[in-house]
């Protein structure tokens, strides 16, 4: 076994447990599952190339998410490809559809209702700008601290706080119907 082999094995043992985290982030940053797969692959390759710079004992979780976000940002810049998101009008229409449809009677319909709620959450998140979306996801879903988010996103803590405040406010507005259910 060569040095490099050991390197890749060590890298894989550190990176693999964070695959679900990387996948969740990628899935919410990219429009399609295909793009999300590309993003996670590219992130892992880049992280492996920079593996010698990684300090053992430091936070691999934040390190990997930082690489993922930077890669997504580079792609968006290079191709000027904005993830196609639905506007507020589509959201309102869908929200009305969800709340007016009598979806709570039988069990299959209830399951369908659950799926609709999931879709609604996804749409509400997509409606946020990528910075707001990632800030709220890193804080509320992945439970990173403000300091970690500031480091990952390369912005001051104050910006994290204002983005989080604004993003939560917007989500509570768009998801009002579901939240009050």
């Amino acid at each position: 076994m060569t040095e490099l082999d050991r390197g890749s094995e060590a890298f894989e043992s550190v990176a693999k447990p964070y695959l679900p985290l990387l996948w969740r982030c990628a899935r919410r940053l990219m429009r399609t599952g295909h793009e999300a797969e590309d993003l996670v692959q590219e992130t892992c390759l880049k992280a492996f190339r920079a593996w010698h710079q990684f300090q053992p004992g430091t936070d691999a979780r934040a390190w990997l998410v930082t690489i993922l976000l930077n890669t997504a940002r580079d792609w968006a810049r290079k191709t000027l490809r904005q993830p196609e998101t639905l506007g507020l009008n589509d959201l309102t229409a869908l929200s009305q559809q969800v709340t007016t449809e009598p979806a709570r009677a039988a069990i299959p319909e209830q399951a369908a209702g659950q799926a609709e709620v999931g879709r609604l959450v996804r749409l509400a998140l997509d409606d946020l700008s990528p910075e707001f979306r990632m800030t709220v996801l890193l804080a509320d879903v992945e439970e990173f601290t403000y300091r970690e988010i500031a480091d990952i996103m390369g912005c001051p803590i104050g910006t994290v706080m204002s983005r989080l405040y604004r993003a939560r406010h917007l989500l509570r507005m768009t998801l009002q119907a579901v939240l009050e259910d």
């Binding site: 890749s8 892992c44 709620v117 999931g118 709220v136 509320d140 879903v141 706080m161």
Partner: protein, 262 residues
């Protein structure tokens, strides 16, 4: 029914970002405030929704296999390491590396002067409290009254700056918290800006990494960060600082006018 506390402050508490004294105070408030309890419940409902796994969150089975293969290709592409290079070439390349490293280091030092932690913390605490809308407790600008107010809050004798009231109206005092310690803070207004004096005790801290300048008979250390200017000086085991988004000359002028802090 509403509460005058800003929601941003409640978020800091819920996100575990408040320091112990502030967090205790917030927990106490939450026991009795109905409006805040409603906000907490709404926030937890939103978090619950966001945390509900979506079908698409399931990692595709093939993903890691593909990554594993690409990593293996990457490793192969690099090829085996050359066993041994002729010695003179090794020295040459080492020299080149060292030179490159020096250039990179010089550029980095030139571009990004290191900002000491104490400066970052003081400035970030100013931004944080401003965003949170943490108020100053108003009180008469009398040194005795101000010192007395801090009596049960900090474990050192607070030095109170005495500034001409007509030019620097006293905004009030507050207990701040950074670098894991309690910090006494007194704020004055000046031309629509806030001048904050911060004082904390720490025998272990040193300001020597900052560049010193002389103001009157006092040596102070100046550093700007995120649009704020900080001026620090030491008084025995007490650390005093002045932080503001005012220009440095205006801050040095205020410092010259502050008598009692020498």
């Amino acid at each position: 029914m509403s509460c005058e506390r800003p929601l941003s402050q409640l978020y800091l508490y819920l996100d575990g970002e408040l320091a112990p004294p502030e967090a205790d105070e917030m927990a106490h408030h939450l026991r009795t405030c109905h409006a805040c309890q409603t906000e907490v419940a709404a926030h937890h409902r939103l978090q619950g929704l966001l945390r509900t796994p979506l079908p698409e969150d399931e990692v595709p089975e093939r993903l890691w296999t593909v990554i594993h293969q690409r990593l293996a290709q990457e490793t192969l592409a690099k090829g085996p390491q050359p066993a041994r290079r002729p010695r003179h070439r090794l020295w040459l390349s080492l020299g080149a590396c060292a030179a490159l490293l020096l250039v990179a280091l010089a550029v980095r030092l030139w571009l990004t002067p290191a900002v000491p932690l104490v400066v970052q913390e003081v400035v970030d605490s100013q931004i944080r409290t401003r965003l949170m809308g943490v108020p100053y407790t108003p009180m008469p600008a009398t040194p005795d009254v101000i010192r007395h107010w801090f009596d049960d809050k900090v474990d050192f004798a607070v030095l109170v700056p005495v500034l001409p009231q007509a030019r620097y109206p006293f905004l009030g005092a507050r207990l701040n918290y950074f670098l894991n310690r309690r910090v006494a803070e007194m704020a004055y207004a000046s031309d629509g800006h806030v001048l904050s004096f911060v004082i904390f005790a720490d025998p272990g801290l040193t300001l020597s990494t900052l560049s010193p300048i002389r103001v009157g008979n006092r040596t102070v250390y100046v550093q700007t960060y995120k649009g704020y200017t900080t001026i620090f000086w030491q008084d025995g085991t007490l650390f005093c600082g002045l932080v503001s988004d005012l220009h440095l000359p205006a801050m040095l002028e205020a410092l010259r006018q502050a008598h009692a802090m020498s």
